[in-house]
Symmetry: C2
Subunit: 236 residues, 2 copies
DNA sequence: CCAAAAGTGTTGGCCCTACACCCATGG
DNA sequence: CCATGGGTGTAGGGCCAACACTTTTGG
């Protein structure tokens, strides 16, 4: 049974074509010939924890099950449901009468390529955060808050960027990720130095092939070493 | 009209007798001769924003109106309301039937002395976070999360410590505040240097009187200078 | 004169920044 | 041979941490 007072919304961020993008899902039943988008989200079930609901949405939308999702803020203005069209759509979709809804925002950085269209949510689409379409409720505000939050989160838990990257990645890919998220250029040499000094980014013996320039080395993220280094910090 | 699905809880932290303390309010109607405590909190009203509700609770409990309150996390486990006694009390108190409740946690650092007992909330009591009594729902978890959060918040917005301190304060008072919140000793000389280098902590010409040792200078927090310094950071 | 806290400078290490050149590869 | 990105070292500045003594005041 759905609990029609509280929802979760997931802001899934990824990088596509050198732009920071957010995953939007198609609104089903928006009307004939009309395609509208929204943040992936759902009313919670009566017996479901908030985090559980967020992981359900993540999985239904992307197929991912275990990437770290962070609760970053709740949104509860009574005027969230001021737009009658939005409420109407939600009532159709959930088959419930809804009044005011407080929503809990969750955030993740994840791979753009691997997401898939889904039975539950319909088509989804990675959209640059600078080119958002009209969105229902206060979804634009939620996205704005989420993009601010992601930087703070990466500083606390740098490992989340490796959920976004492929298992083997080049120094350039990692650098670009930081450049796009922080929206500034980073010095190549300093970046290499820092990367090598961390101890948990391990050079492999594989390199790129078939590139029209010197081939880049692939690196991998060593989770075990990372965890050891970070568990020490907690004690200090 | 109360909205019996969502509540706010305020974790008001302060320092008393060299210990980090949290404000707990008396549960009214707990039973004859029994004194029970809880976090100051309330169901939200139907037309009230979350932040509005949090400020209402702050004001009703402490008389403070404008100190910065930060939303830090929501708690929504279905088992929050597992304890029937807690639910019973809440139903008595609110005169409403309640089932599951999602609560939004707010956090502030504030002055211990100036709080006052209140008509709405009954007596309140500053209690060391290491000596909490039995608390209803998941209030202990909420306090634990809040004490973790306060450090991160001070780093982002150092001005909040001055809401806790009196208008004129000594270097020792400020240092003790940091020592207690971060739970480690700070070097006196380095602390003075840092304090003087910030530019928004202004020495006054007043000093302590009637102390059995060299009297300390009072400092004040210059909000205007602070804001100027910080608005530059936002642009960079 | 004693106890208690106030106040004050210097040094070394670490980390961050800025900056320029040669290397490997495919076309 | 050229275009493209890969990969490397050094020097200066700022910030933090460590460290000890003299001053003031009340009792």
């Amino acid at each position: 049974m759905l609990y029609p007072y509280v929802s979760v919304d997931c802001v899934l961020l990824g990088i596509d074509n050198e732009r920071l993008c957010v995953l939007l899902t198609e609104r089903k039943n928006a009307g004939i010939g009309i395609t509208e988008y929204k943040l992936p989200g759902s009313l919670i079930y009566e017996t479901e924890d908030l985090e559980e609901a967020a992981y359900r949405v993540l999985n239904e939308t992307t197929g991912f099950k275990r990437i770290p999702l962070k609760q970053f803020r709740s949104f509860g203005s009574p005027s969230r449901t001021a737009n009658k069209e939005d409420v109407q759509w939600l009532e159709n979709d959930s088959q419930m009468k809804v009044g005011r809804i407080v929503t809990v925002g969750y955030l993740a950085l994840c791979k753009v390529r691997k997401t898939k269209p889904d039975r539950v949510y319909g088509l989804s689409k990675w959209t640059p955060v600078t080119q958002l379409p009209r969105l229902p409720f206060d979804h634009k505000d939620i996205i704005t808050e989420a993009t601010k939050e992601i930087r703070a989160w990466i500083e606390i838990e740098p490992s989340i960027v490796f959920d976004y990257l492929p298992d083997k990645f080049t120094a350039l890919q990692l650098r670009r990720t930081y450049e796009i998220i922080y929206n500034k250029e980073l010095d190549v040499r300093n970046f290499h130095k820092k990367m090598n000094s961390l101890g948990y980014i391990i050079p492999t013996h594989e390199t790129e092939i078939n590139v029209p320039h010197r081939s880049a080395r692939f690196y991998r993220f060593d989770k075990v070493k990372y965890n050891k280094l970070h568990s020490k910090l907690n004690k200090a």
